[in-house]
Amino acid sequence: MPEPEVDTRRREIAGVLTGEFQSPSPDQVLENVLENVLLFLTSRRDRNAVSLVCKSWYRAEALTRSDLFIGNCYAVSPRRAIERFRRVRSVVLKGKPRFADFNLMPPNWGAYFTPWVTAMATSYPWLEKVYLKRMFVTDRDLELLAQSFPAFKELVLVCCDGFGTSGLAGIASKCRQLRVLDLIEDEVADDEVDWISCFPESGTCLESLIFDCIECPINFEALERLVARSPSLRKLRLNRYVSIGQLYRLMIRAPQLTHLGSGSFSSSDIVAQGDQEPDYISAFAACRSLVCLSGFREIIPDYLPAIYPVCANLTSLNFSYANINTEQLKSVICHCHKLQIFWVLDSVCDEGLQAVAATCKELRELRVFPIDAREDSEGPVSEVGLQAISEGCRKLQSILYFCQRMTNAAVIAMSKNCSDLVVFRLCIMGRHRPDHITGEPMDEGFGAIVMNCKKLTRLAISGLLTDKAFSYIGKYGKLVRTLSVAFAGDSDMGLKYVLEGCPKLQKLEIRDSPFGDAALRSGLHHYYNMRFLWMSSCRLSRQGCEEIARAMPGLVVEVIRNENEEDKDGFEILYMYRSLERPRIDAPEFVTIL
């Protein structure tokens, strides 16, 4: 199909041939040159800088930007975005704040995809990619998307809800150029529609199909046929309704896979009948390109040896749904020398983490999830595991660690051993828990992290913390962009330290901490530089929030009540963000915009 640039070219050439061609003005030449140069500029930060140089640069940049990134869907309206950027091929939209994932935000708060897809349907006919995070997406939105963009190639939905398998059926059947359909941690309604059967019969361009979050059965025979007619398929992540026997059948059809989500990794038969079990080990051995393995949703550990042949090549392994013990982990991890990303359950215990530290010298990212996510349960991992990891995995850049007990010493050790840390998220699950050996607050540990990890941009703190911890963050956390605080601090000073000390702060989420109106005021100089501020169950008053709203007209200040709350003036959550628009009109009744 002809593209807009081609038409322009044709007109220019036609002008030359008929003698009507006129020399362009110098400004025009400059703009043409600039446009061609800017085509190579992909980083949005660079592009933002370019657009500030002067008006003609602004125009040139706007015409050449093909990747639109909107970090807060309410910061700008669809109309404004479309008017400025006319030739967009790919859109990233993010909606709800992260704390909504933990049921802290009442449902139906907002972040609707509908106004966006409606506007783009008419203005971006060449749209190829849509990436949505924490947005509310309906089946009708998906239907409209499928109908409106003939060149559509990639749909990635992360932590979204509002749609079901009927919406997926529309995408599968109408997006003929579809290469990527990635559904990651979404809530997908079971409309009892066989969406897998809706892909084109003649063959697909599918490169990536990820549906491990779908909590309903799929038509396996149709999936098998789909895999057989998708020669470009490299990434396949199955849901837990696919048994290991079925996995086998898929793997032998697609040995070219690089990323595999293994489904339930368990047998559907209660009593094994018929033939012997398939040779799982051979199936894995045949996948010579496999680098990323996940799934194991209902793992029967007996089957674990099947994956041994691929371990040596794995760069990413996700065991975070696999209820395995120390020995079972050891049997696998001892082969994984190239591993860079590792997600695991704490069922493997400190000893399991020691095994990881001993083998995985290339580890960049570690996430340890709790199998029992309650505050006062037995904690199988502790400072022992963290210390071991810090000593063995010196290239670590990102860590998320859930535990019941921790010490400052281990955190300090990590700050010194892993100087490349960019993301440090420690969740001591018991609220206000001190260092369990010294009894002291965890201030010194987190202080060491901000002091020693000079590249740190994301931090999540927990345990017993005084204002001192915050003073450290304000003093040393000069690159921190995202900060997550819960049940921490003594007084307003805590929040003040951070708001006054961290110039790069973009996203600040705080719950259940004793920060009040005075602390809120201390951030007035910075709020326009931030994507958002979330404060729930703190010591704010309505007047305090109103003051902020009055002082900063470019900020949308939302106070959110419990749906059950009788007191119309009381509120649980302050959520505020910069915006170019007037406050949104789609807010539900329990949200008051000041």
Binding site: F102, A373, F402
Partner: protein, 192 residues
């Protein structure tokens, strides 16, 4: 240590009981022992409820006392939390699927021990699966009256006669089953 021991009310032994703990702390001790959180003052930890009043509005003086579960804490998405609730008690489930071999048969089978409620059901299933019969079991003489004897390998690596230990103990210690034939079975209690 269980605190629930019956006392003769007229003797009032409780008043003179030696316990660890402050006098009058009986209730708190029972709570701590039961391991179940007292949720009376705060909202329960369900995914459907949101914005609990009980999540302390910075009331940290309450924190060291009864720690009720709080909404959205720890920060784990609910589908992850829910993935493991039932599994916890089955953490030792590794041994439930066991291989079954029979002397003379060309290939092995696999069964899930959890499906059976006791030895009679298990033995019947084995007999159906491999088409043979087992004699009657007695503690003294093992399986009398047939060529085949069901045996199992336990956690220590020893081969035991099926039926000697209580069913639950068998379930947790059995690693694999083997239906032994005639001559090999001697010495495991087949015949006198």
């Amino acid at each position: 240590m269980e605190g629930a021991v019956a006392y003769e009310s007229d003797l009032n032994l409780k008043a003179t009981e030696l316990r660890l703990g402050l006098p009058g702390s009986d209730e708190a001790e029972k709570e701590a022992l039961s391991g179940v959180r007292n949720n009376k003052r705060a909202s329960p930890d369900t995914s459907d409820e949101c914005g609990s009043k009980g999540s302390s509005n910075g009331d940290r003086e309450n924190a060291p006392a009864t720690k009720a579960q709080v909404v959205g804490w720890p920060p784990i998405r609910s589908f992850r939390k829910n993935s493991f609730q039932p599994k916890k008690t089955e953490a030792e489930a590794a041994g439930m699927f066991v291989k079954v071999s029979m002397d003379g048969a060309p290939y092995l089978r696999k069964i899930d021990l959890k499906v059976y409620k006791g030895y009679p059901e298990l033995l019947q299933a084995l007999q159906n699966m491999f088409k043979f019969t087992i004699g009657d079991y007695s503690e003294r003489e093992g399986y009398k009256g047939s060529e085949y004897v069901p045996t199992y390998e336990d956690k220590d690596g020893d081969w035991m006669l099926v039926g000697d230990v209580p069913w639950d103990m068998f379930m947790s210690s059995c690693k694999r089953l083997r239906i032994m034939k005639g001559s090999d079975a001697r010495g495991l209690g087949c015949g006198a």
